[in-house]
């Protein structure tokens, strides 16, 4: 019995290793592995592949509320104090307080229904994007989920020279 169980475990382990090895090599580009850059992550059903820096800025500031496929945008950020949030907001040349004020003003003016969602973990951010066709979030490239889609910014992926979200 013990032998059978050992063999069974080995078979399962081998299977997992096989799946893990093949799955990873197919879905994550080599340049993303180990990259510290922030990846712009969207729902895999979203047909957007590329955004310009200007478009990304419009999205983050709420001036653009829909994707090209008409899906309403849902911005998901990490909570204040996290590296991902700080870097995304710094790319707008704003402080977190200024970013918050900007969004509160938009809500006050009726230009936005709510401030961007803030969640405590990358896992939760990824889950929201997974559940929302229009979701977009920002994750350090090495922490990417395999089932989400990474958008190029100015034609570049994280880890490539000239990628703007360093």
């Amino acid at each position: 019995m013990t032998i059978k169980r050992t063999i069974g475990s080995l078979v399962v382990l081998a299977g997992l290793l096989q799946i893990g090895a093949s799955g990873g090599s197919e879905q994550i580009p080599a340049s993303l592995k180990g990259s510290q850059d922030l990846a712009v992550v969207i729902n895999p059903k979203n047909d957007t592949n590329d955004l310009s820096s200007a478009e990304l800025r419009q999205i983050l500031l709420g001036e653009r509320k829909f994707w090209k496929n008409k899906a309403p945008l849902t911005i998901v950020l990490r909570e204040p104090g996290s590296r991902e949030r700080e870097e995304v907001i710094a790319s707008l040349r704003m402080s977190d307080a200024e970013f918050g004020q900007h969004w509160r003003d938009r809500v006050f003016r009726g230009e936005a229904a709510a401030v961007p969602l803030a969640v405590p973990s990358n896992g939760m951010a990824s889950q929201v994007v997974r559940d929302n066709a229009g979701g977009v979030t920002f994750v350090v490239a090495r922490n990417l989920s395999l089932d989400l889609k990474v958008v190029k910014i100015d034609g570049k992926l994280p880890g490539e020279t000239g990628y703007p979200l360093k």
Binding site: I3, I7, L10, V11, L13, A14, L17, Q18, G20, A21, S22, S25, A30, K33, G34, A54, R57, Q58, E63, R64, K65, F66, K70, P72, T74, V76, E79, M94, A97, E98, G100, Q101, D105, V107, F108, R109, G110, A113, A114, V115, L117, A118, V119, P120, S121, G123, M124, Q127, V128, D131, N132, G134, R142, N143
Partner: protein, 457 residues
């Protein structure tokens, strides 16, 4: 015997052989699986995985501590841990007033430990009310004969939004405010809107809104904290405070982006318009009944160039018919309708550090009787710069109503400067001190001083 001789040794050999063969097969499988990755990136992959493991362990530690906190909270207050379920019949009415429940579900955890104003991701499609309040208290004095210096309760503004779906939302600003003449409090929904977004080019809103004339009226609403100065420019003063513009309107509005590359936006509005200022003491905002069948139309275009963050310029045109009623010997008498046309233009530059607001309006009243039309020119220019928590500001404003204007001749000519200092106590509170001088036609000038504490909660 045959079985023993033949099967016994074979059985022993077979077990070992099986193990060896299976182990070899597994090793081959593992080896083949790893083969494509056996590149110079192996070390990086291992490093990345280790780092990820470390991150996950950190997250587990955080979650464990949160669970312990929640468990302790639930044990400390067992009464809340088992809320009674409402009877089926009372479910709808009981829902908004439930006893606070312990933080046990993922939604509650997200609420507690995520963002205080955000729904849990799983609740994103559930309507969720968000309430924010604004208030202010001032002290004002002026050297006008007969006036007294007074502490003044400003507007208590309850600002509520609710995201109904990913395209629809609700917004309301309910203001509780005391009348300066009677000191009696009144309550009024200053804005009440159902908003629906079709796409970036078409957004509808229905209800009571701030008319898109110029910049100030749609940038600043009923919160003293949000604006730099103590008070709005007289040009954009609210109707019930003597303002001459139709600041509020009830109707339908459409807004959207014309060109995102240029940053060109449009606003088109149709509504009841404001009523003529009369002796009857009616609310100037026609919330329920329009005084005539003519509707007000407003169309505005403005540009926010993407390359120059903070810059906005634009123009708008507004048209309505007003039906003034005057009291003659105590009897209301309807006078000929007056066409009201308003043209406005603005150029503003506003960043977190610096603001320069410039707006000009020409309001025209043309009686249908054929009498001469009257033009009311007005403008203001405001500049301020932030130095840490301090923001000194200066504004000059001008409104000139001709004496023969059928509606607002009592306003006459008013112009003068405002200078002040705003000190931000925090993101949610500010203290302001302001000096001003109102110069008036054929009347002595009035000097003003005021202080104000404005806050959000």
């Amino acid at each position: 015997m045959y079985k023993n001789l033949a099967w016994g040794p074979f059985k022993t050999f077979s077990l070992s052989a099986h193990l060896v063969i299976i182990t070899l097969v597994l090793l081959c499988a593992v080896a083949s699986a790893q083969q494509p990755a056996s590149t110079p990136t192996d070390a990086e992959t291992v490093k990345a995985l280790l780092q990820r493991m470390q991150d996950l362990e950190d997250q587990v530690r955080t979650l464990k501590s949160q669970v312990q906190t929640l468990t302790a909270a639930a044990q400390a207050n067992p009464a809340q841990a088992s809320p009674k379920e409402p009877a089926a019949g009372d479910a709808a009415s009981a829902a908004p007033v439930t006893t606070p429940a312990p933080v046990t579900t993922p939604a509650q955890v997200a609420e507690e430990y995520g963002s205080a104003t955000q729904a849990h991701p799983m609740e994103m499609n559930t309507p969720r009310l968000q309430l924010r309040g604004f208030g202010d208290v001032s002290w004002n004095a002026k050297d006008l004969a007969g006036s007294t210096n007074s502490f003044t309760l400003g507007q208590l503004n309850l600002f509520i939004t609710s995201r109904l779906t990913d395209r629809a939302s609700f917004l309301t600003e309910t203001v509780i405010e005391a009348d300066s003449g009677t000191n009696q409090f009144g309550i009024e929904p200053e804005r009440l809107l159902f908003l629906y977004s079709v796409n970036d080019h078409l957004n509808f809103s229905v209800g009571r809104y701030h008319t898109s004339i110029g910049f100030y009226n749609t940038a600043y609403h009923h919160s003293a904290l949000m604006q730099t100065t103590m008070k709005r420019p007289f040009l954009f003063q609210f109707e019930d405070s003597g303002g001459i513009l139709p600041v509020h309107n009830v109707g339908v509005s459409a807004t959207g982006v014309v060109s995102s590359k240029l940053g060109l936006h449009y606003v088109a509005e149709i509504g009841n318009g404001r009523s003529a200022r009369t002796d009857l003491g009616n609310n100037p905002v026609q919330n329920v009944t329009d005084e005539n069948n003519g509707k007000s139309f407003n169309f505005a275009l403005y540009v926010r160039p993407p390359g120059i963050p903070g810059l906005q310029f634009g123009a708008s045109g507004y048209h309505d018919h007003l039906s003034p009623v005057v009291l003659v010997g105590g009897v209301p008498v309807i006078t000929p309708n007056v066409q009201e046309n308003i043209i406005s233009g603005h150029v503003v530059y506003q960043t977190n550090q610096f603001e320069f607001l410039n707006e000009a309006v020409v309001l025209q009243h043309a009686p249908d009787s054929g009498a001469l039309a009257n033009n009311i020119p007005a403008f203001y220019s405001q500049i301020s710069k932030r130095f840490g928590n301090y923001r000194p500001y200066f504004r000059y404003e001008y409104v000139n109503v001709p004496a023969r204007d059928p509606l607002y001749s009592d306003v006459a000519l008013v112009h003068g400067p405002r200078a002040g200092l705003r000190y931000s106590l925090s993101e949610s509170a500010a203290f302001k001190i302001e000096f001003g001088r109102d110069m008036r036609r054929n009347l002595p000038s009035v000097n003003l001083i005021g202080t104000q504490l404005s806050f959000a909660f």
